[in-house]
Amino acid sequence: MARFIVRRLAGMAIVLFAVSVIVFLVFNVIPNYNPAEALAGKNATPTLVKNTEEEWGFDKSLPTQYVTMMKKVFNGELTQYSPRIPVDERIAEGIPATLSLSIGAAVIWLFFGLLLGYIGAVRAGGALDKFITGFAVAGISIPVFLLAPVLIYFLTYKLEIFPSSGYVGLTEEPWEWFTHLILPWFTVAILSIGFYSRVLRSNMLDVMNEDYVRTARAKGLSERKVMTRHVLRNSLIPIVTLFGLDFGATVAGTAILTESFFNVEGVGLYAAESIGKLELPPIMGVTLYGAFFVVLVNALVDIAYAYLDPRVRLGASAQ
């Protein structure tokens, strides 16, 4: 197990390195863009621009520039252009909001996704199944940039059920935190609810044809136990993979749009602002933070996998 974890950590480091190189290179091929000018701020004197250029080594070769930037990343010296605030501070400020949004949404999509998938599989072909399928397809098809404004318009402005945009800290006012996040949560979750319910349903229908399910019935287990202990349990294994990918991606990126619409002051909103202003340091910081989460969650999924499927456990320890 220790070897397995070490291998995973090494893999994480390689992925993060690759991501940082790619982001860095992308910024160097943007046309008509002088990072020193942007970094020096508006109305900067040519001297200031020159100084900035030297500080960041923009006149040096690309590998040197990359090393300079990564040094700043690791020393916490990465600062956004204006106002000059360290990037890691801004990210740290945004993390509670982003995690509140992502974790809450994940809980919602897992709960409803699995519930609807299970019902759909058990009632396959029935009216309820068809209704769930319709809902799922709609959920998958509605883009965030349509769903978010529609929800805000009807539920916040027209009916005034939910408070308008913003984020309230969980420790400050738990109830406000909750009501402010309901709409963003569902906006993020609705796609995954549809998707997960479809995937679970089809997994379960496949597993129902397995020989061991027939064995379970032949043992005289009740239908509910056959469904939960044998069918559902084995159908969840692929869902865990999916969840690892989706949760990492939600923390890292999916929240960008939703945070922007609902003005949730998280890392996603910060990323959106930085992209708008073409500021390399925050984008580098935010991207590395996102990549870190994706890779971390995937490593956790691999470990969960070993717990769920003993055949994987054997494979890992045999190596």
Partner: protein
């Protein structure tokens, strides 16, 4: 034969609604299983032998299946019984061993736990320790070495033969009266097959366990069966004791099965004989005898369905579905000095 059969199946008919119409997988099957008896049901794929077995257990019940006729276990009717009643019987009084031991265990649970699960499904008061102890005892009974350790293994850590032993151990957990083994040796090596058959034979003798053995392998039948049922296209075409069937087969289909066996005690034939043609589609059966299109001895009478009848006075339990007279059969089944089905006229 003893008076009261433990299991009796009467005119069982199982049909499945398919896009092509009603598929009659089992068409009027009747038989009785005495306690302590091994009954073999023989037939090729699609003959309805597995469906018959699964229907006895209530495993073919679904929206798309039509089940008629009667199955009684010690007088209790099963075809009409509620799902809950059948569930209580399954695993407790009738247990089943399946064909493929590689896929018949759930890969994510330990074998011992799966055996204990079968016990707890029927005896809620079985404690964890008691379930485990019983599972170890069963492992020893079916000849799994190091039972104490292997009970905590996962299915993928067992070989095929060991898994089938474990499967049999699980089936025996609650001491059922009837064991249905659906091609229990088909997926195994020949040497392992013999071990598993010996195990089934021992269980039958020592515990008086009434067994239905489903197979397409006459070699397996010869090894353990007391009585044999030959099925073709959903119908029983011949029924008799092991000796009757092997030494005096009445139905041309049985001759064909016999003829296609390799025998080590006979000169080697140039070509291994086979029954020409393929079994008919169950959605489009020939008129009359279902075997007619493949039978070289077909004659005018065969356009009517022959009944399953005893056709020789001296063997009232030996019944078949063939219009030929006993003398004709004796003459026609000799092919090159042994029982067989001659190739149809070109």
């Amino acid at each position: 034969m003893s008076a009261e059969p433990i299991l009796s199946v009467n005119d069982l008919r199982v049909g499945f609604a398919t896009e092509g119409g009603l598929l009659q997988a089992v068409d009027g099957v009747s038989f009785e299983l005495q306690s302590g008896e091994v009954l073999a049901i023989v037939g090729e794929s699609g003959s309805g032998k597995s469906v018959t077995a699964q229907t006895i257990m209530g495993l073919t019940r679904s929206k798309n299946s039509r089940i008629e006729g009667s199955v009684t276990l010690e007088g209790e009717e099963l075809v009409e019984a509620s799902d809950a009643t059948l569930r209580r019987l399954r695993g407790d009084r009738i247990a089943m061993v399946f064909q493929d031991p590689m896929t018949s265990f759930n890969p994510v649970y330990r074998i011992g736990r799966q055996i204990a699960e079968a016990m707890r499904a029927h005896r809620g008061d079985v404690s964890k320790q008691a379930g485990r102890a019983r599972a170890i005892e069963l492992f020893e009974a079916v000849g799994i070495p190091e039972a104490e350790r292997r009970i905590d293994d996962y299915p993928h850590e067992f070989s095929g033969g060991m898994r089938q032993r474990a499967m049999i151990a699980m089936a025996l957990a609650l001491e059922p009266e009837v064991l249905i083994a659906d091609e229990p040796t088909t997926a195994l090596d020949v040497t392992i097959q013999a071990q598993i058959l010996r195990l089934l034979g021992n269980l039958n003798r020592e515990r008086g366990l009434a067994t239905i053995l489903i197979t397409h392998d006459l070699g397996v039948v010869a090894e353990v069966a007391d009585r044999v049922l030959v099925m073709y296209a959903g119908k029983v075409v011949e029924e008799g004791t092991l000796d009757e069937l092997f030494y005096d087969p009445q139905h041309p289909y049985t001759w064909g099965l016999m003829g296609s066996l390799t025998r080590l005690d006979r000169p080697r034939p140039k070509r291994l004989p086979q029954i020409s043609g393929a079994p008919p589609s169950l959605l489009d059966l020939p008129q009359g005898c279902s075997f007619r299109p493949r039978c070289p001895h077909e004659f005018a009478e065969c356009s009517r369905v022959p009944g399953l009848e005893a056709r020789q006075d001296e063997a009232p339990g030996h019944r078949d579905r063939c219009w030929l007279s006993a003398e004709q059969k004796r003459a026609k089944r000799e092919v090159e000095g042994r029982i067989g089905l001659e190739a149809p006229a070109p």
